[in-house]
Amino acid sequence: MPLLYPLVLAAALFGIGVYGVLARRNAVMMLLGVELMLNAVNLNLVAFDAWFADALHSGQVLTLFTITIAAAEIGLGLAIVLALFRALRTVDVDEVGR
């Protein structure tokens, strides 16, 4: 499999993630955008690991770290969103900013 396919897929995912973070007003959707960007990076790491045929598989190891940290991050982020919703009855970031 040529390297181009996963890279294009990763770029598309990253672009969708950026769009989600910049354009969506819903805090949950923004968090999802962040997840998409992280996973686009993960895809890149795995793809390059396979392409380089790295004996140590450092790309895959790094991906495992990233997934762990992403899990922690999304847990923290959702907790904040939950707290926001409890306090303000909204998760619209424009409303919250005001």
Partner: protein, 573 residues
């Protein structure tokens, strides 16, 4: 109570000490040669060259008389005030300003240095402001004081400029030096004379700057006596007489002075005739009498003007102090509140009668002799060809004769209305305390005593007596018939609206001009800083668009920026 009175007598003692010192200084000068003996020393003699600021105390016989008049009337006023104003909470400042007033007057008449004269002149203006406004809780007193101050101050510019011109012309600010220099060649007579005339018109309340004097009436009555008789207004006439030698040759100046004097003497006399307020009537009478003195000076006889100034000072002080006694008895200076006070106030009645006799110019009071001198000097001016033109002198003489008639008429009218007839609502009146009647008696005696040794001119003497008798007779006849002696002519009771140009129109013009200046400043000058501020504000709006407080927009911009950099980087490499 007695302690308060005791403290008040301390001011009397202070004034008495000043009076005694002034008398010791002035009396030896009284009988020195002529009234205006010009310095006959060697040119460039012992006097210091200009500019000299030492007081240069020097008394001519005329100045010596004025010094004695000022301190004498001042002392009597001070004694009178202990009873008249004794309970006033601000008595101390009142009494001390009187002393300052006297010192300033002595400085004016007792110096040969023009700058010292100016200082005394201005201090007198200040003192009159303070004293007219002594009852500053009333709006009337504040307005009167401010008016007196402003009007005399404007005219004082004339004196300042006159002094500067004299100094430039003759190279000295010392009057004796000026006399030496001017004795040989008087120069710039017209300029100096006109400037002096402006100062005199303001200080001595002559037309058209006369309106401050009647409006100074809210001041305490003893002060009115002081200002009207011995100090403030006297200084103006004194200056006109003292500097006469500088402008005697200028036809323009003496003609202007004669015209001003002629208008003012008639105006003052007519308005004194129609007043319903005794004090105000006496104020207009002062205006008219001062004009008579200036008329004599214009007719090249300053001696006659000054002798009338002295006698007028005595009898007008007497009349004002008498007016104060009447106000003390009935609580008002309105003529309608008076009447029938002859029996209950005998001392006031008799001494005031002497005052009115002198004002009317009847024998044998000093007023007759000095008014006679004034008339005689004007009459003399009609047939000599220097200075005043013959026609002007005749016009002035006619004005003066009419004034003599009117003066006698209004003096009689005031006298009758105050002391005769029925008392309004049975007001009995009561005699004033002896501290007030004492000065009246002294002044009444002085009114007779001053006639001793006065010159007498048969022709004018008979004429003025006849006119005065006619004036007295007219009023007495009207009064006997029970006719009204009040002239109720609208324009006259409104004082011809002469105050309007100065009190309404001038402020309106000043206000208009200042409004234009303010508009110019706000519209034209302020436009530039306002435009700059507007520009900055609009720029800040444009720049403020970036500061949206929206984190997502910031992030979008960052992302776009990164994208641009990447694209640029890729394209360039």
């Amino acid at each position: 109570m007695s302690r308060v009175a005791g403290r008040h007598w301390a001011y009397v003692a202070l004034t008495a000490a000043l009076a005694i010192a002034a008398a010791i200084w002035a009396i030896p000068h009284l009988y020195e040669t002529a009234w205006f003996a010009y310095y006959d020393g060697e040119p460039g003699g012992t006097r210091p060259p200009f500019p000299s600021l030492s007081p240069d105390l020097f008394l001519l016989p005329a100045s010596a008389q004025l010094v004695l008049l000022a301190v004498g009337v001042g002392l009597l006023v001070q004694i009178y005030s202990t009873a008249y104003l004794g309970h006033h909470p601000r008595y101390r400042s009142y009494a001390l300003v009187i002393v300052l007033f006297l010192v300033a007057m002595i400085a004016v008449v007792g110096t040969t240095n023009l700058w010292v004269l100016l200082v005394g002149w201005e201090v007198m203006g200040l003192c009159s402001y303070l004293l007219i406004g002594h009852e500053w809780q009333t709006a009337e007193a504040r307005a009167g004081a401010a008016k007196a101050f402003l009007m005399t101050r404007v005219a004082d510019l004339g004196l300042v400029l006159a002094i500067l011109v004299i100094g430039e012309t003759y190279g000295t600010y010392d009057l004796i030096g000026v006399e030496i220099a001017a004795g040989q060649s008087p120069q710039h007579a017209t300029a100096i004379g006109l400037l002096v005339l402006v100062a005199v018109i303001g200080k001595s309340a002559q037309f058209p700057l006369h309106t401050w004097l009647p409006d100074a009436m809210p001041g305490p009555t003893p002060i009115t006596a002081l200002i009207h008789a011995a100090t403030m207004v006297a200084a103006g006439v004194y200056l006109a007489a003292r500097l006469f030698f500088l402008y005697a040759e200028s036809t323009v100046v003496v003609t202007a002075m004669a015209v001003v004097a002629g208008i003012t003497m008639l105006l003052g006399a007519v308005l004194a005739l129609v007043q319903t307020d005794l004090k105000r009537a006496l104020a207009w009478s002062t205006v008219s009498q001062l004009a008579l003195m200036l008329g004599a000076i214009a007719a090249a006889d300053p001696d006659a003007g000054l002798s009338h100034l002295i006698s007028h000072g005595v009898f007008k002080a007497l009349l004002f102090l008498g007016c104060g006694c009447l106000m003390h008895a009935v609580g008002s200076s309105a003529l309608s509140a008076m009447g029938g006070l002859r029996a209950s106030m005998p001392v006031t009645f008799w001494s005031t009668t002497v005052g009115f006799t002198a004002l009317a110019g009847l024998v044998p009071t000093a007023g007759f002799f000095t008014k006679d001198s004034v008339l005689h000097s004007i009459e003399q001016a009609t047939d000599h060809d220097g200075g005043l033109a013959s026609g002007t002198a005749y016009a002035l003489l006619a004005a003066a004769l009419v004034t003599v008639f009117l003066t006698a008429a209004y003096a009689t009218r005031l006298w009758l209305k105050a002391f005769f007839g029925p008392a309004p609502d049975g007001h009995a009146g009561h005699e004033a305390p002896s501290a007030m009647t004492g000065p009246l008696v002294v002044l009444a005696v002085a009114t007779f005593a001053l006639s001793i040794g006065q010159p007498f001119h048969l022709g004018t003497g008979l004429l003025t007596t006849a006119l005065a008798a006619a004036g007295v007779g007219t009023i007495v006849l009207l009064w006997r018939r029970g006719a009204s002696v009040d002239l109720e002519i609208g324009p006259l009771t409104a004082e011809l609206g002469l105050d309007r140009p100065l009190s309404r129109w001038l402020p309106a013009v000043v206000r208009g001009v200042s409004r234009t200046v303010v508009d110019l400043d706000q519209e034209a000058v302020d436009a530039y800083p306002r435009a700059g501020a507007g520009l900055a504000e609009r720029a800040s709006h444009v720049l403020g668009l970036a500061q949206s407080r929206n984190v997502q927009r910031y992030a979008t911009l960052v992302a776009a920026g990164v994208l641009v950099l990447v694209v640029v980087g890729v394209v360039l490499t």
